[in-house]
Amino acid sequence: MTALLIAIPLLTAFLFVPFKEKAKFILPIIVLINIVLLFNLSINSVEAMGGWKAPFGIVLVLDSASFYTLLVVNIIFLIISLIPQITENGFSILLLILLASTNGLILTGDIFNSFVFLEITAAAAYIIASLKKNYYGAYKYLIVGSIAGGFYLLGAIYSYVGTGSLNFADISLNLNSSFLPFVSLMLFIGLAVETKILPLAGWVPDVYASGSPLTPAILGTGVTFTMMYLLGRIFITIFNGYFLDVLYIFGLLTLILAEIAAFRQEKLLKALAFSSIAQAGLVLSTISLNTYDAIKAGYFHLLNDATAKIILFVIAATVVGNFMKNKTAGISFSIASFSLIGFPIFAGFRSKLLILQSSFEKGDYLLPTVLLFSTIIEAAYLLKWNVRLWHNENEETKQIPWNIVLITLILALLIIFIGIFPDLYLKVSENITDGLMNYKAYVTTVLGGM
């Protein structure tokens, strides 16, 4: 049953290759089917592909972490599919493939299989990145992404050498310190490119700022969420917190440097791309504190960031002139940026408070300092852009399509709702954290009480 989550979108994608134009309409339906299917699956179920039981065959694991991540990612796809204007002809098929591969990436319990899905995700992402004739940016992304994928493969294979298994649960049982450094280094390089960790995130500004709303809206939210989940799965569940101190430092560097770089950008989309990098860094360093509260706060912030970023990217890429003729869209944009900065009554405030609290609890004063300092810079450029977009005298203002306005408005209201009653998102992030941190339960689920 679980395999259908991957199979349905993949099959539909191939079926609709001859009817590219129609794929636009099938996309929301498929995503809805996926979500309905997801709710009919029982948590903590393991599906062995081809009947080969773990640790010998490939398994798809649906525990509370992967269930809620799937839910989040599929809902993001649903939101994107409801804005068909931003999807150029034929790209709906790519979105279907991307959906299949992200679902696979979340579900899989096999490290080589995760490499395969990672590469498919990346391939779909390269093509999506080439929207708006951004071929050169996409090509750069392809080179760096493939190299990173190669390193990920090296890591995966080396973990096979070290433990004699490709199964996540089995690897974590046979952990031994001699092969861990190399494996975690290689896997980190592979994931760092996709999760946008700084020295390796140079492709992001080119790809996100191509001018197409679709590229950043899906790559910066759904795919980033998937990659962050995978990173948590590997470094928290499997490696039991090994290597997290390195991730912490990289996260902090990413946060502060990317915010400063975003402050510098002259184009709104580029600034938002750097902001996206910075938020990834923040989430990374928060979850690498490796306490329950911190990981919860990290994924909570990731959710808030994804919600805000869809609004910001879609509106930033569609708006022309000023907000005076697009007041509703402008209000959504402002709400999203206030949430990102962390003003009270918006969702981002809640998650930033939780991050601060959890890091203080851990006795870590560095993260709060860096976070608050970079938030000042973030406030500077986001507010500057808000003021510019509201109060410029540009006459050639175009109307933004009604469904974009409506969907961003709903998301903006959701941000306020979460800011006041955060329980919905908190429940999701709590469940993800439960699944990620409970390493014993994961191993028992997969290997069946060994």
Partner: protein, 614 residues
């Protein structure tokens, strides 16, 4: 009597209603705003102290709550007095605002609601939540002003964020160290705290939020442009109400957390930390005064004056002396209503003439006498001349400084006071006195609706200057609550160890003097009115008004003394440029035109990690 929580909610949701009402009819929405703020004023006047309400869960184990304290009540009364008066002024003023008027009214209420929460918050984080709401609302209003306001708004938000994040850092550190955040429990814990360094850190970081908001040196630079650029009527509320949030946080960090008991005194019962703050206040006084003298834009001039007055308030509060603290609190009230008077009269002038440059106006007294009276009384109070209430607070602060033997500080405060005569005179002479320009011949006086709040404020200042008992009673209850020896007063007589001050006597003296002067004015021959160009100099007729304007180079002789002064504005701009350069550097580092750069970084990361781990 509704609960405070509900009142705050009424304000927050009222902002939506206000938006829709104003959209439908500008006047209607503004009347709604006024009624709501006036009701809040009435509500606050009758509120009983000690009331407490649960609010929301900040974290699962930490509950936010509101409590009515005397301090909060005092500050909220001052605030809503200002807000209600300005809202009344806006009823007519908004008719002339071409765009963003609905949002203006909505954010006005949002700011009011946020401030209400700030004054009644019972713990550090609830205060922060409402504080940020007020900041956000005010940030949204500022760019509705003139061109310079766009950048000013961002500067304001960034500086404000700097202060409030320092505050937040301290708040979380307290929560982590003691497990409590309510002011009462925190102050008990701080009293028992052994580490002096930690106490310094907490007090200074919490005070930072207040320092920014009340425009104290060295974080004062946002004030000039933010006050100068923001919508004219809003500037009154900004200076009169919003900056008082800063004074409130300063009062909390200095008095609610008992700094006198926490630290050993350095000099005359004043601890080192408070002494440093007094000096910051002093620098603000000097700097505000001397920079105000230079300004040609009347709003920016009074903005610098706000820096100076924020300094007076801080000096008064930081002494934590029964009279000094009372003087600080009284000055909070005085500066609030002075700001309203001055900025509202400016708003009328700008509305009628369309400029805020002093040397583009002149002689407006002939066209707007009532506005002139408002400004005149406002500046009399600002300069601290009896019989207005502004004198009393300044006198109390001077009195304390002299009594504590802080003669340098006292001297600076005196210099500031003398300087304030100079700078308030510049708009008086340049805008209201002198020659009326031809293009201003058919200006009209402010409408009756605009004049009502202005003249009521005038009456209030004079009245409280003669009979300050209501304010003094409030201050006494605040001081009793905070454990400071309450001020001794008997209605119109303020008693200090250095003698007492009888307001009635002073008022009678001044009244007699005024009457004598008035009689002399009637007896002596009147001055003849001539037009500016109806004369000649050096054989030439005068055609250029501006060249011979009163206000051009008004205080050149003083300004010359500090022409090349060090500027913190420039310093902060440099810091901004510095960060931009780092941004350039980082962008250049990671963003490459060719894929090689990215692979280079991958190799570097691998090598570094390989090297570090093994």
């Amino acid at each position: 009597m509704i609960s405070i929580t509900n009142l705050i909610l009424v304000f927050l949701f009222g902002s939506l209603i206000s938006y829709l009402l104003t959209k439908a009819n500008k006047v209607l929405g503004s009347i709604f705003n006024f009624l709501l703020t006036a009701y809040a004023l009435y509500f606050l006047w009758n509120i009983e102290v000690g009331r407490s309400e649960k609010l929301f869960n900040i974290f699962s184990n930490v509950q936010g709550s509101l409590t009515v304290t005397n301090l909060g009540k005092f500050f909220s009364l001052v605030s809503f007095l200002v807000l209600a008066f300005v809202a009344f002024f806006v009823i007519d003023w908004i008719r002339f605002k071409p765009r963003s008027y609905a949002a203006f009214n909505a954010f006005y209420l949002l700011m009011a609601g946020g401030s209400l929460g700030v004054f009644f918050a019972n713990d550090l984080i609830t205060l922060y939540v409402f504080w940020e709401i007020a900041v956000l609302a005010s940030f949204l209003i500022i760019p509705m002003g003139d061109e310079s306001s766009k950048k000013a708004a961002v500067t304001y938000a960034v500086m404000s964020a700097l202060g409030s994040y320092m505050y937040l850092f301290a708040a979380f550190s307290i929560l982590n160290r003691y497990g409590v955040i309510s002011f009462k429990e925190v102050s008990i814990n701080l009293l028992n705290e052994a580490s002096i360094g930690y106490k310094w850190f907490v007090i200074l970081f919490i005070a930072a939020a207040g320092i920014v908001k009340s425009g104290i040196f060295p974080l004062h630079t946002w004030l000039r442009k933010a006050y100068g650029g923001s919508p004219d009527a809003f500037t009154a509320a900004f200076s009169g109400q919003l900056s008082k949030l800063g004074s409130y946080v300063l009062a909390i960090s200095l008095a609610v957390f008992p700094t006198v008991k926490m630290f050993s005194p350095l000099y005359q019962g004043v601890p080192t930390l408070n002494y440093i703050l007094i000096w910051l206040g002093n620098i603000s006084i000097i700097l505000g005064t001397f920079m105000a003298i230079r300004q040609n834009d009347m709003k920016q001039l009074i903005a610098y004056s706000s820096v100076a007055n924020g300094g007076y308030i801080l000096v008064g509060l930081a002494t934590l002396d029964s009279i000094g603290f009372a003087g600080g609190l009284f000055h909070v009230f005085n500066h609030a209503i002075i700001s309203v008077m001055v900025f509202l009269s400016f708003a009328v002038v700008i509305l009628r003439t369309g400029t805020s440059k002093i040397d583009e106006m002149g002689g407006l007294i002939w066209r707007m006498p009532m506005t002139f009276v408002t400004y005149l009384v406002g500046i009399i109070s600002l300069a601290g001349i009896p019989p207005t209430s502004g004198f009393i607070s300044k006198w109390m602060i001077f009195n304390t400084l002299v009594r504590h033997g802080m003669f340098v500080t006292a001297a600076i405060a005196f210099i500031g006071s003398v300087g304030s005569f100079l700078y308030v005179f510049r708009p008086l002479a340049g805008v209201f006195l002198g020659q009326l320009k031809k293009k201003h011949y058919d200006l009209k006086e402010a409408s009756i609706i605009m004049l009502i709040p202005m003249l009521l404020m005038v009456a209030l200042t004079v009245l409280l200057g003669v009979y300050p008992k209501p304010i003094l009673d409030l201050i006494v209850s605040v001081e009793t609550e905070l454990g400071i020896k309450p001020l001794e007063h008997a209605g119109t007589i303020i008693k200090t160890p250095l003698g007492s001050w009888n307001t009635i006597t002073v008022f009678i003296m001044f009244a007699v003097g005024f009457i004598i002067a008035f009689i002399l004015y009637l007896l002596f021959p009147k001055a003849k009115k001539v037009e500016l160009t109806n004369q000649y100099t050096g054989g030439e007729f005068l055609y250029n008004y501006d060249l011979y304007h009163y206000a051009t180079g008004f205080y050149r002789f003083i300004e010359r003394l500090y022409d090349k002064h060090p500027s913190f504005e420039k310093l902060y701009e440099m810091i901004g440029v510095f960060f931009k350069s780092i941004g350039d550097f980082v962008t250049g580092l990671i963003y490459k035109p060719s894929p090689s750069g990215y692979i280079f970084w991958i190799s570097i990361v691998i090598l570094i990690l390989y090297w570090v781990r093994w």
